[in-house]
């Protein structure tokens, strides 16, 4: 187990390092001159030059990168060009809605996808399996905003029972109002995410169902239910956990589209705004922050993977 953890930590650190270089390079090397963007098009070159000097943009890139990373490690992601607040502050304000939205969406996805995936695997080839797999295919072939629009059409426009945009915190509007505003976005994201989880659950269950040790379990006289929910589930769990980690991570970003559409003040909306405004520190900081969450979640998944699968816990590698 120890070796497994050390390997994981090393790989996480290198991934973060490459990630930071990529993001830094993205915004500094390829983008236009931020100072010029801030002062607008009619500023003359001397003003721009002065601003560049003041913001230290003329220093060698490596130096800028080292400063940026050392600050970032201490939690300071620099200041926004247009928001008169530090990036960290902007993120802190907006992490709440994003996490809530992601959490409920993932919950809906898991509650929906795993049981349906198991049913589809158990009844392979029958009507239930075909129906479930078809809907999963539908879910996979649809961008989240499309489903969002269709749900708005049905529940917002035709039935008019649910709000189609906006976000209410529990403090302001009370629990019921808070939930009413969350239903449409969370259901949208939940359905989209459940499509992927359902397909993976079904295929990992089918793989395990065809193994020799499940044939042995049947030869031991165990009930079909016991075989499915004890022997098969324990083995399929590790693959499903891995997918849950990845899907929660990508959910955090996928929510960006929904936050913009449903006008929810989350991190995703922040990034989309700052991209349109070319507010590079915010873009840099937010993407780094969300990617960090994504990596940490996957690290947690890999660690739990070790607990579930003894082969990792003891031998350090799945045979």
């Amino acid at each position: 187990m120890g070796k497994y953890l050390i390997n994981k930590l090393i790989s996480v650190i290198t991934t973060l390092f490459i990630l930071s270089i990529f993001i830094f390079g993205l915004t500094h090397v390829m983008a236009g001159d931020p100072a010029q963007a801030m002062l607008g098009s009619n500023a003359d070159s001397t003003q721009i030059e002065a601003l560049r000097e003041e913001m230290g943009l003329n220093r060698p890139l490596v130096e800028q990168y080292v400063d940026w990373v050392s600050d970032a490690v201490r939690g300071d992601l620099g200041d926004s060009y247009f928001r008169h607040q530090s990036v960290t502050a902007a993120l802190a304000e907006r992490i709440g809605p994003s996490l809530i939205l992601s959490f409920w969406s993932e919950l809906i996805a898991v509650v929906l996808a795993i049981p349906l995936g198991i049913v589809a695997a158990k009844r392979k080839g029958e009507a239930a399996d075909v129906a479930v797999s078809a809907t999963a295919m539908l879910g996979m072939s649809m961008p989240s905003f499309l489903l969002g629009l269709l749900l708005i059409l049905v529940f917002g426009v035709f039935l008019g029972i649910l709000p189609v945009s906006g976000y209410v915190t529990i403090a302001k509007g009370g629990l019921l109002e808070h939930i009413r505003y969350l239903v449409l976005p969370c259901v949208t994201m939940g359905l989209i995410q459940s499509a992927l989880i359902l397909r993976i659950t079904r295929s990992s269950f089918l793989d395990v169902l065809n193994t020799d040790y499940i044939k042995t379990a049947k030869a031991k006289g165990l009930k079909q239910k016991v075989i499915l929910y004890k022997h098969v589930f324990r083995n399929a769990a590790s693959t499903i956990v891995t997918i849950l980690g990845q899907s929660f991570g990508s959910l955090l970003a996928g929510v960006a589209v929904l936050e913009t559409m449903f006008n929810i003040p989350g991190m995703g909306q922040l990034i989309v705004d700052s991209v349109l405004k070319r507010d590079y520190p915010v873009i840099q900081g937010a993407i780094l922050f969300i990617s960090l969450i994504y990596i940490i979640i996957n690290l947690i998944v890999d660690v739990s993977y070790g607990i579930i699968d003894p082969r990792i816990r003891i031998a350090g590698s799945a045979k």
């Binding site: 790989s11 290198t14 991934t15 973060l16 390092f17 490459i18 990630l19 990529f22 993001i23 993205l26 915004t27 390829m30 983008a31 295919m137 539908l138 996979m140 072939s141 649809m142 961008p143 989240s144 905003f145 499309l146 629009l149 269709l150 708005i152 059409l153 917002g156 426009v157 035709f158 991570g249 990508s250 955090l252 970003a253 996928g254 960006a256 589209v257 913009t260 559409m261 990034i271 989309v272 991209v275 349109l276 070319r278 873009i283 937010a286 993407i287 969300i290 990617s291 994504y294 990596i295 996957n298």
Partner: protein, 292 residues
């Protein structure tokens, strides 16, 4: 010994016969055929767009704004009086072009990176770490960031999507190549004096091809979705050129009174992407040796 000419005849009809078997196993697979038919319909619609509809997708005719679906305008018209069906068909064309381009680029780049990483262990760590690093940035954010840097043009969308999806294909290619590399026939050809080029490109690559083709088909579908999302956020194909994303982006504002602006393009888009995904599943089943 047999006459030389005799051998050549054997060669010709045998090769043709092998192709027939491959074709038959594809047509027998209902799923693959359904996906193919759906995709072909979409492609034809996109190519024959000018013949199908008399209207121009971009020219504005403010006289007949917000017309409900009618015989003249099957999908109705938008806020500038443009025919939605025409714009949708042209939108499919853009989506297909971008999807295909992205799939092709990521297929080639992914194959090369994957094969190199699998065959040369010293490259493996380097390539895989970079891929992991890039893949830890969620695709939509990466897309937005790249577009903001590159500027919103169709050409850049393809570049952005290719950067996003190449690591995904590379990882699949590497995994497939690693399993093939352990096969006895690779060791056999090595024991017969083959150089690394022959081993890699004549023996390992062809046997990695099938799983990477399947992955490229899925990337084709996902690229269309991501392009639509980017355009929806205003970071993709700029208006007025019609793309599935910006059609729906504009439709969003008028969803309350002209619902048809949203409904019909949505259905067409779902069919488009579903067709390609089902085709991907179909190819996977045909290619999968355990299937036949």
């Amino acid at each position: 010994m047999s006459s030389e000419k005799g051998n050549m005849d054997i060669a010709k009809d045998a090769i043709w016969e092998n192709r027939k078997i491959k074709l038959r196993s594809f047509t027998k697979n209902k799923m693959a055929m359904f996906g193919l038919v759906l995709t072909v319909i979409m492609v034809l619609a996109a190519i024959l767009a000018p013949l199908l509809t008399p209207y121009d997708p971009i020219a504005m005719e403010t006289t007949n704004r917000f017309q409900a679906p009618s015989m003249a305008h099957l999908f109705g018209t938008d806020e500038f009086g443009r025919d939605i069906l025409t714009r949708t068909v042209y939108g499919i064309r853009i989506s297909l072009i971008i999807g295909a381009a992205t799939a092709a680029i990521t297929f080639v780049a992914g194959m090369i990176l994957g094969l190199l990483a699998a065959y040369f262990t010293f490259l493996d760590n380097l390539i895989m770490r970079i891929c992991e690093g890039m893949m830890s940035i969620p695709s939509i954010l990466m897309g937005i960031a790249l577009m903001s840097v590159l500027g919103t043009e169709s050409k850049n969308v393809v570049i952005a999507l290719s950067i996003v999806y190449t690591p995904v294909v590379a990882r699949v290619a590497r995994a497939a190549a690693l399993t093939v590399k352990e096969m006895t026939y690779v060791e056999a050809i090595k024991s017969q004096g083959a150089g690394w080029m022959r081993i890699l490109f004549k023996h390992i690559a062809p046997n990695t091809l099938s799983s990477v083709i399947v992955q490229a088909t899925y990337i084709f579908a996902t690229a269309i979705i991501l392009e639509a999302a980017l355009s929806f956020l205003g970071a993709g194909i700029p208006a007025p050129t019609p793309s599935m994303g910006n059609i729906l982006n504009e439709a969003k504002q008028y969803i309350f009174n002209s619902w048809w602006l949203t409904l019909f393009p949505s259905i067409v888009m779902i069919l488009l992407v579903m067709g390609i995904n089902i085709l991907g599943d179909g190819i996977r089943d045909v290619m999968d040796p355990t299937a036949n």
